[in-house]
Symmetry: C3
Subunit: 176 residues, 3 copies
């Protein structure tokens, strides 16, 4: 079962996603795409880690998401990817200009075959004024397209508002 | 029947709107408010046109939207306006400072009398940080007010998230 | 009964909140957190005041929100706070760097004990590109966290889109 959880910045989407993982009763795995590049980010990461509590296996992988998923894949695991948007950003800022399209294709190819449950967290960034700069517009475009593609294959899609889940695509397939 | 379809940038709102048009079984008409001012825009327009496929009558009209609607109005037509936000932007950037309020009034006046079904696509731009600059704030204001006014007269309002429709105003009047 | 009404800029959230207040049949009280710092803001305030009409008691309080609520608290009153986001902004821009956390704690402490109905209006600002500047990111963070905390204690949470209410948390406790 693949679940997509979207929300704005500081909407409570990560916390909601962590609760969903724990509800499955499976072994929780956390794939962190953030990198502690500066002090502000270090504090965010530490706060998230503290919120999650013990019992989670953590994999840090800013770029090669499909590889990390395959590495953690087990039928009794529920893998949380937090978050897609940082992963996109990391890939777009990488030196290799083809990295993003390769990594995106690898993710979409690997997801249907995974034995684990997977919960993917993404940041809504397209509901403000479209920012200046081609890179910003491309980022909004790629993020939105990725969410659309994942929403197609997800068995459940949720938008988190003020920490509360709004159902966008009701659960399909096996209940969790 | 008038339908309003809202969504952020790259939310899949255009594609959803096109599917809604085709579901009516009526002759599809596309009113494009975009103008191919630069290469980036030309590519976006070409991609949208390719997605739609053949069979659509296309009218390009960046400013005089009410006139374009009246020109295309037939009982067996379903007219897609894509999108309101570019039309607002075109009108606000026009030399005549009164153009926007004139065009907005003309749209609101003509809609109830049309024989065709009309599906209007608009961009949510007000859920980010309010950007600096009076023109940006005015743009957010006018866009939001337009959506509110159209939502009042629409028989159905939808917010598209990751390509999926969230019902904001359930269908009223004749089913389509 | 505490109700949280969220929405983007110019989403119609204030008008919807005013209607909710009037539906209670209680004495309407308006706590305005805006300050008429410039001509643009003066016009916005005047337009909102005109929309509300007569019959409202108005309290202007840009910073000390908990005090204003306690001052207006009566069992036969329904108090509208419009809006939380300007209040946050006023507190964050104040000279005293501890003011925001003090005022936030005071609000969360006083709300459960109030006899009046309270309707709180907040601005969604986190669904666009995260803006540059630490102050902007902190603003988005604090605004989002405040909404999450209030959504926990609110008996009803609504997201306003194009003037129409989307239910995020259905009404709980006594109906109004």
């Amino acid at each position: 079962m693949i679940e997509l959880i979207l929300g704005g910045a500081r909407s409570g989407k990560s916390r909601h996603a962590e609760q969903r993982v724990l509800q499955t009763g499976k072994h929780p795995v956390y794939i962190a795409t953030a990198t502690a590049g500066d002090e502000e980010m270090r504090q965010r990461i530490a706060r998230h880690r503290q919120q999650r509590g013990a019992g989670w296996r953590t994999i840090e992988q800013p770029l090669l998401l499909a590889e990390a998923l395959q590495q953690a894949d087990q039928a009794d695991a529920c893998i949380l990817v937090d978050c897609l948007t940082l992963w996109l950003s990391n890939c777009m800022l990488a030196e290799d200009p083809a990295l993003w399209s390769q990594q995106q294709a690898a993710l979409l190819a690997c997801l249907p075959a995974l034995k684990a449950d997977v919960i993917l967290v993404g940041n809504e960034v397209g509901q403000g004024i479209v920012p200046l700069g081609e890179i910003n517009r491309r980022f909004v475009d790629e993020n939105g397209r990725l969410h659309q593609q994942l929403a197609q294959i997800a068995g459940r899609v949720t938008l988190v508002v003020a920490g509360l889940p709004l159902t966008v695509k009701p659960q399909q397939g096996n209940p969790a």
